[in-house]
Amino acid sequence: MAEDVLAPLAGKVLSVAVSVGDTVEEDDEVLVLEAMKMETVVYAPLDGEVTALAVKVGDQVEEDDTLATING
């Protein structure tokens, strides 16, 4: 089952902790968004493999943009 990781808010991608092909566990850090001087960690919603990364460091994203896809 593939699940998209969505941006919880608009912001800038500060760091990306995973690569395509990585195995992640639920609640692992996927990336960090910076908005309003605060850093919001975006977590893996399920165990699985990262099959797609839609953003890179420095990208500006909008709320609900797809950031990554995890196949569980």
Binding site: P8, E25, A35, K37, M38, Y43, E63
Partner: protein, 577 residues
């Protein structure tokens, strides 16, 4: 009121392995700061003569007296690192905290007789006033271990005079007594001049057989009228008088027990004085443990060590405040006030050892679309907006009405700014919270979890709420400053930078100053600095926070000056509907 309080709404969830793994470095950073604080604490406790040296002289140290006096496991030190005048020994020379004596809570304070025989030092009177004020906020006895050689004379100009100088605590003792709060004193050693007033100003004076107290000690009594200097004959005369007074210092127990009767009792042994204090503490008014319990006491549903993985050391990282609170309150249960309004603020009724408290804290992170409702920008937790300020005003007012002590949790970057925010009345609503706090009669405590910034640090029950804030705790992540250092550097130097650029000069000197200011802010907002300068009353390891909440609520409910029957409370009904 079982339907409301026996089982409240459960919240929080167990820590996931992924989060624990991801936050190892943050946990280690927090524990590293706690280790530094522990090291500084040990240095303060070892200041002056060694315990062995004091014991060889036949005396106990203040720490040994405290250990004998205070019920095991109930000592909660405060102001350990407080040293605002930067005394070389690292201490103001008093040791104080909350503890139980014979099952009753008291504020306990004693002179450190290892350091200059317990002398007055710079910064000490402010430390003492924090202890006297704490007794007033919690309406519990103040217990003194007096052993005070008087002023450290070479530095008298730093503490003798002034509104909050070394004499102010004697007026505070009178205030406490007039408010019906007893001040008990166990008196040891030589207590001349300032030490004499430290001894005479409490309510009940229990003395060791070798104690004395006097308006002036040997040094003053044997002195002479000023003659513009000293010569050998004068000093020899002085030595002769000193010897006479060494044999019998003024104001010993034969004078002040047998003669004036100021000492209520005299004890042969040092421990006898402490036993006497215990006997008097058994006689002070206090409600029993069960009197104000709304439910059976229960620990939180989750372990306190989780806090290291929930509160990020990194100042900008978002976290879930509710998960922190779930590690601190009974059963991880609450009755949340207006959960659908002012999402940046948690407000609700919780239990600590079965007793009801109001809890207020900053929630973190993105606050959802269309919030704040008056701005075209996203709202982010830690900041206070119109709704959150209104919610705090309502909750504080109702806690005052229902006589619920309040525990504040700060991690705030300030109140919303800008024209839209001004039109949304945030300035007036912030001051309204201060007004709301000030019109309650309930004691409050504060935990600065991470950031205490801008006016929000005042508004959210900060130490500036001096008539209500009993004490303020810091953590390893605490930072208290008017604004972030980088923001301050921009505010201070941006115009200067523009001028330099327009003049065609190098920007490097301005950049250096900006970075220096950032560094200065960093150094002067850290936990150790906050503790040294009294921004917080103690920096506490995260797993110890609940113990201090227990001490606060236990003390606040020991003998409250005003009570509200649970069946007359409004808050639970307003929450449940």
């Amino acid at each position: 009121m079982k339907p409301y309080f026996e089982r409240m709404d459960a919240f929080g969830k167990a820590l996931k392995p992924g989060r624990k793994k991801r936050t190892v470095a943050s946990a280690e950073a927090l524990q590293g700061v706690e280790a530094e604080i522990a090291e500084a604490t040990q240095a303060v406790e070892e200041a002056g003569f060694s315990t062995e040296k004091i014991n060889q002289r036949g005396w106990m140290t203040v720490y040994q007296r405290l250990e004998y006096l205070v019920d095991e496991g109930t000592w909660h030190p405060l102001h350990t690192l407080y040293n605002p005048e930067e005394n070389t020994k690292g201490t103001t020379n008093v040791v104080d905290g909350l503890g139980r004596i014979e099952g009753r809570w008291a504020v306990i304070i004693g002179f450190d007789n290892k350091v200059i025989a317990g002398a007055w030092l710079p910064g000490q009177s402010e430390n003492i006033l924090r202890a006297t004020d704490l007794a007033a906020r919690l309406n519990i006895p103040l217990v003194w271990l007096v052993n005070c050689s008087g002023a450290k004379l070479p530095e008298q100009e730093k503490f003798y005079a002034n509104r909050r100088g070394a004499g102010t605590p004697f007026f505070r003792h009178a205030e406490l007594e007039q408010a019906g709060i007893p001040v008990l004193a166990g008196i040891y050693g030589t207590n001349p001049a300032g030490g004499g007033y430290q001894s005479i100003s409490p309510t009940v004076l229990l003395a060791h057989k070798d104690a004395n107290m006097a308006v002036g000690g040997v040094g003053i009594v044997s002195g002479m009228a000023p003659k513009g200097g000293f010569d050998a004959a004068m000093v020899e005369d002085l030595i002769a008088k000193m010897k006479d007074f060494t044999a019998r210092p003024p104001g010993d127990v034969s004078t002040h027990h047998d003669g004036t009767g100021f000492f209520t009792r005299v004890y042969e042994e040092e421990t006898g004085v402490l036993d006497g204090l215990k006997e008097y503490m058994r006689a002070v008014p206090a409600y029993g443990e069960e009197f104000f319990r709304a439910a059976e006491a229960r620990p939180p549903a989750f372990p306190p060590e989780d806090l290291y993985h929930l509160l990020p050391a990194h100042q900008k990282e978002v976290y879930d405040f509710d998960e922190v609170l779930a590690r601190l309150v009974d059963g991880s249960e609450r009755l949340e006030f207006r959960p659908d309004y002012g999402p940046e603020v948690f407000a609700g009724v919780c239990k600590v050892d079965g007793r009801l408290v109001g809890c207020i804290g900053n929630r973190q992170g993105y606050l959802g679309k269309d919030y704040p409702e008056y701005g075209d920008y996203p709202g982010i937790g830690g900041k206070l907006y119109r709704q959150g300020l209104i919610k705090m005003n309502e909750f504080v007012t109702l806690c005052g009405r229902d006589r619920l002590p309040i525990v504040w949790f700060q991690d705030t970057s300030g109140i919303d700014v800008g024209e839209a925010a001004e039109r949304a009345e945030v300035l007036g609503l912030g001051q309204a919270v201060i007004y709301s706090i000030q019109q309650t009669g309930v004691p409050m405590m504060l935990v600065v979890l991470r950031k205490g910034t801008a006016a929000a640090h005042y508004v959210m029950g900060g130490p500036t709420a001096n008539r209500h804030n009993a004490f303020t705790l810091g953590t390893a992540a605490t930072r208290i400053e008017v604004m972030h250092g980088e923001t301050a550097a921009v505010a201070t130097y941006s115009r200067r930078a523009a001028k330099e650029q327009a003049a065609g000069r190098s920007l490097e000197p301005v950049i250096d100053k900006m970075n220096q200011l950032v560094e200065h802010y960093d150094q002067t907002s850290r936990p150790a600095y906050c503790a040294q300068h009294g921004f917080v009353d103690e920096v506490v390891p995260l797993p110890e926070l609940r113990r201090y909440l227990q001490a606060f609520t236990g003390a606040a409910y020991q003998h409250p000056a005003s009570i509200c029957p649970r069946h007359h409370m409004l808050l639970p009904r307003m929450i449940r509907g």
